[in-house]
Symmetry: C2
Subunit: 269 residues, 2 copies
């Protein structure tokens, strides 16, 4: 799994790149099932919306085999190593629900703003990855990206701890308008199993979801090892302190786990 030069050029100029159906239906079905099981647990890594619906489950790669395999999957790790030219480690790992009917808004922001201010990350050399577990449609709260906005650098932001259930450094309306006038907006939609890569300074947000279609995304951040965080303030399960390079697993790791589960059930029957 290597990116073409056209793909790398698109990432550099637009700030994002989408790889459709990178994971197959069997792999996605496993991850969806495991995500539901995690959301059903009461644990500090699982955050909820005002309605009680799950919003985010953090660090699932550390306590779930399937998400552990995803977090070291070569189809995800190799392209990111290729962009940065060095090994990467897991800075953050979360499963975002954007639940049916009640999924809340995420205001416009850059992720690097948070990594720098809250975690002491030196450079925006960390990659955001979104792996789609459900179909992401225009109508169920897709990530909205502002192409080329990563070239604007680290923008001034205000700490929003009110609008939604998760504190964010958000951008003002004049800044967003200026960037959208230049770059437009792309709704990142696609079938389950697609993978979106986007730059840590790319401005993005998402509207609420009022449809009956849930929109689960595994959303993780791979940081270049040399760019490890210097002054973390957030809990370990939100900004990891294990800076060891990820050693990619075998390509069939998820498929292997998917096929193991029914076999165990059959033995028990």
């Amino acid at each position: 799994m290597r990116l073409t030069s056209d793909q790398i050029a698109q990432f550099q100029t637009e700030g994002w790149l989408f790889l459709p159906e990178l994971f197959d239906p069997e792999e996605v079905a496993l991850l969806k099932r495991e995500a539901e099981a995690i959301y059903a647990q009461q644990r500090p890594e699982v955050w909820r919306e005002k309605s009680g619906a799950p919003r985010t489950a953090f660090a699932a790669h550390l306590y779930n085999d399937a998400f552990g395999a995803l977090g070291a999957h070569p189809r995800m790790i190799r392209p990111v190593e290729q962009v940065f030219g060095e090994p990467v480690y897991m800075h953050q790992f979360k499963i975002n629900a954007k639940s049916a009917f009640t999924g809340e808004v995420w205001q416009w922001h850059q992720d690097y703003g948070t990594w720098k201010r809250d975690d002491g990350m030196p450079q925006p050399r960390a990659m955001n990855i979104a792996v789609f577990l459900d179909e992401v449609m225009p109508i169920n709260g897709p990530l909205l990206l502002v192409p080329k906005s990563h070239l604007a650098g680290d923008l001034e932001a205000a700490h929003d701890v009110q609008t939604t259930s998760y504190p964010l450094w958000t951008l003002d309306e004049a800044t967003v308008t200026r960037l959208v006038d230049a770059g437009g907006i792309v709704a990142a939609t696609g079938k389950p199993g697609g993978m979106l890569m986007f730059h840590g300074n790319l401005v993005h947000g998402s509207a609420g979801n009022i449809t009956p279609y849930p929109r689960k995304i595994v959303y993780l951040t791979l940081n270049a090892v040399s760019n490890y965080i210097r002054t973390p303030t957030r809990p370990d399960f939100i900004a990891h302190r294990d800076f060891a390079p990820i050693v990619p697993g075998p390509d069939d790791s998820l498929r292997h786990l998917a096929r193991r589960a029914p076999a165990v059930a059959e033995q028990a029957a």
Copy 2:
């Protein structure tokens, strides 16, 4: 302006019909300019969101020449008369803003639920009309329609006076899920000047708008004259009591007004 038999069949089976670019750019520019002028006024017919941004201006056809011309426009009135087989009157007239960045959600509902309960309308023989003043895109809070849901009749609903700035009789999640499983969801998108017609029992809603793109729609209800409301409880400017049939004006009424305005300005200069 007459609907074809295919168009009438689509309305009967799907519950909605879209006529793209029914009004031309000159006509739309006039209406946009006049809408902004109305939103700038402090008057009881102009309702605002929690942020102070305009949400809805009621009854503008009664105090603004351009919207008066729109409210009697033959391209809008004739098709609705054709569907109902009788003259119509204006039951409600509003300009909905769905402002950039702050436009709020409208929960899933049927409009006839409100007309029956609050206004004493005997039958769902009133037509919802949406005239697009801005481009309605998938990302700026389009109306989301559940096709065929008008065939489910008048559904049980609860009075929501909390979620948003306008009280609505809204449907529960199980009902919406059942109807969407059967009919799907259509996002009503299109260029400025497009006109959407939809049935009073068609289930619809819209998500918030976080984009810098405003999404103004003139949203009005034409009721069959024989179906006049019997027991109104809402103010006159929300549920009109003038049941006189609308006499359609000339086809060039908006264009005529659009061309008059600059001439006056030139005279003054």
